[in-house]
Amino acid sequence: MSAPAGHATVVVAGLGSEFRRDDGVGSVVAERAVTEAASARDVGPIGDPLDLLGVWNNADLVVIVDAVASGAPPGQVRVLEMDVARLSAHDDGAAVPAPQSTHGIGLAGVLRLARALGQAPARLVVVGIEGERFDLGRGLSPSVQAAVPEAVRRVVELIKEVHPCA
């Protein structure tokens, strides 16, 4: 559901594949968060970060929800504020490791691309949930499933910073 015209726009996108087990957590969290805070727009699930281009244009806040594989305990939820102007990420926890991507351009690349095209959102936050299994198959690991409410709460908090009455 879109916010009324003239209001700040919040876009929530779950990244990842539901067929790679815990990689599917992003869209589960995004969907639930937007059900709770209906002023935000859920554009996921998004398999390729490139598909964010065009859908997040000029948004005041974009929240990306995705599984993370950093070696932290499965189910750990972390919030990363991407520095849209300088394109670095500030993590609220420990340092995050080097990325792996099937796709040509990951999220930071897409953000750079969007900036070059004048399509970057004003603020971009990543809510990452540490995954346990990324092999083929459906369904979340118990530890990741247990982290869903916490991740949803963090996303809703972010939406409410922009829309207090969401």
Partner: protein, 433 residues
């Protein structure tokens, strides 16, 4: 020996989880002659072949679509054709048209992505698409716009843009209503204009003058540019059924590589845009043929570096074809043919954006898959890509390692191997002695 560390064209957000996809290249030069070129591409399809055994024949399109996020429709279509072949069923008429429309959507999105974000930066001296966007935002925005139109077609017909969910053996779960399809006409008209601009844009690139000696193989269908069916045909006169083609292709496991290397009657061959253009040029619609002529492109085109121009011409074709299909669309009723399985072997082959994709299955009388064979375009093209690399390295020995690596990467990207490979490219080992 110089060994460069992993050189990657991928820029990713830290800690965002994705898996798979890598390629490496090893080149050996002895006494000024290239003695060995080994391209190693990780190939996910192999794992799926085992996964499919024991599953019901109706599950194959959805399972195999997971192999690739870039060409799921190709996997679904080849799987459907193979199962229908096994069951002695032919899907034609409006259902076949709807499949072709969906497939056009995939061509549009895949070609736009490859041309603008992966391949064009090579010709313009940009490290990647981001640098290109900084230098030429108008061009990149156009490419992304075209890609979005492809996504839209896939969403309307397939249910969603990545891994369409509406496809099934026999047809579709639901026929999209007429208004939803009619609404695609306007974006497709715009995309067709943008595709024409794309041909003009890429034909102005500084393209290396290289000539390959290729045995082209593409599907040929009477009266139209083949995508979703047809007979495997070669530039030297081979014209066979899908099943005969499968029997003529030998896939060999090479110790150094995780990928199987395919040979046709013992030799290398090339599938994909150059092959299709060579064998189907006269079946292109006039608009695409005129664009090719303006770009100075004649069939056959044997310069692999000009594949970007051929791809752009195919983009014009795919938009034009999709538009024609949209304009005459009638919702197929029923949305699928219903039929029972029988014990048989079925083969299906279609034109994925990057080349021939063949599926072959043995199913039993209950419809359970007993054997699966999936031959993706990249494994069929692999030996020819290595031939290209040999030529490029041999002709470029005077270049420094860095420049040579650049030329090698570009040479691989000419054939648009599956994106996970193309993008993570390339760990190059040069051994000079």
């Amino acid at each position: 020996m110089t060994h460069r560390g992993a050189r990657t064209r991928t820029i990713s957000a830290e800690g965002i989880a994705r898996v798979e996809g890598e390629g490496s290249l090893r080149v050996q030069v002895r006494d000024g002659l290239v003695s060995d070129v080994a391209l190693d591409i990780f190939e996910p399809p192999r794992y799926f072949e085992a996964l499919l055994v024991g599953r019901h024949f109706t599950e194959a399109p959805d399972i195999t679509a997971r192999i690739c996020g870039i060409c799921p429709v190709a996997y679904q279509m080849s799987a459907c054709l193979a199962m229908e072949d096994a069951c002695g069923v032919t899907v034609d008429g409006p259902l076949s048209d709807l499949r072709r429309l969906l497939y056009c959507g995939e061509w549009i999105q895949s070609h736009a992505l490859h041309i603008y974000l992966l391949h064009a930066p090579d010709f313009l001296g940009c490290a990647d698409a981001v640098q290109l966007a900084e230098r030429d935002p108008v061009a990149v925005a156009r490419g992304l716009d075209i890609k979005r139109t492809g996504n839209l077609v896939m969403q309307r017909v397939g249910g969603r843009a990545v891994h369409p969910v509406n496809v099934r053996v026999g047809g579709f779960y639901r026929s999209p209503d007429r208004a939803a399809i009619a609404a695609l006409a306007e974006p497709l008209r715009r995309a067709r204009d943008q595709a024409l601009e794309t041909v003009e844009w890429v034909s102005g690139f500084d393209i290396p003058d290289v000539d390959g000696d290729y045995r082209f193989v593409a599907l040929v269908q009477p009266g139209r540019y083949a995508i979703d069916g047809g007979r495997p045909t070669s530039s030297d006169g081979l014209d066979v059924s899908a099943a005969q083609f499968a029997a003529l292709v030998n896939e060999e496991h090479v110790a150094r590589s995780t990928a199987l290397h395919a040979t046709l009657e013992g030799g290398h061959y090339l599938t994909g845009p150059l092959a299709r253009f060579a064998l189907n040029y006269e079946r292109l619609p006039p608009l695409a043929r005129e664009a090719a002529a303006r770009a100075g492109l004649r069939a056959p085109c044997t310069n692999p570096f000009r594949s970007i121009v051929v791809r752009a011409v195919e983009l014009v074709f795919a938009c034009d074809e999709a538009l024609a299909l949209v304009e005459r669309y009638e919702a197929p009723a029923p949305p699928a043919l219903e039929f029972n399985a029988r014990a048989a072997t079925g083969t299906g082959v279609t034109e994925a954006p990057r080349g021939l994709l063949l599926h072959q299955y043995d199913i039993d009388e209950r419809g359970v898959i007993r054997r699966a064979r999936i031959m993706p375009p990249t494994s069929q093209n692999q030996l020819t890509i290595e031939d290209d690399l040999r030529r490029v390295v041999q002709g470029g020995l005077a270049l420094g390692d860095e420049e040579l690596q650049w030329r090698c990467e570009q040479s691989v990207r000419n054939h648009d191997p599956c994106i996970s490979c193309a993008a993570h490219f390339l760990d190059l080992t040069m051994e000079r002695s």
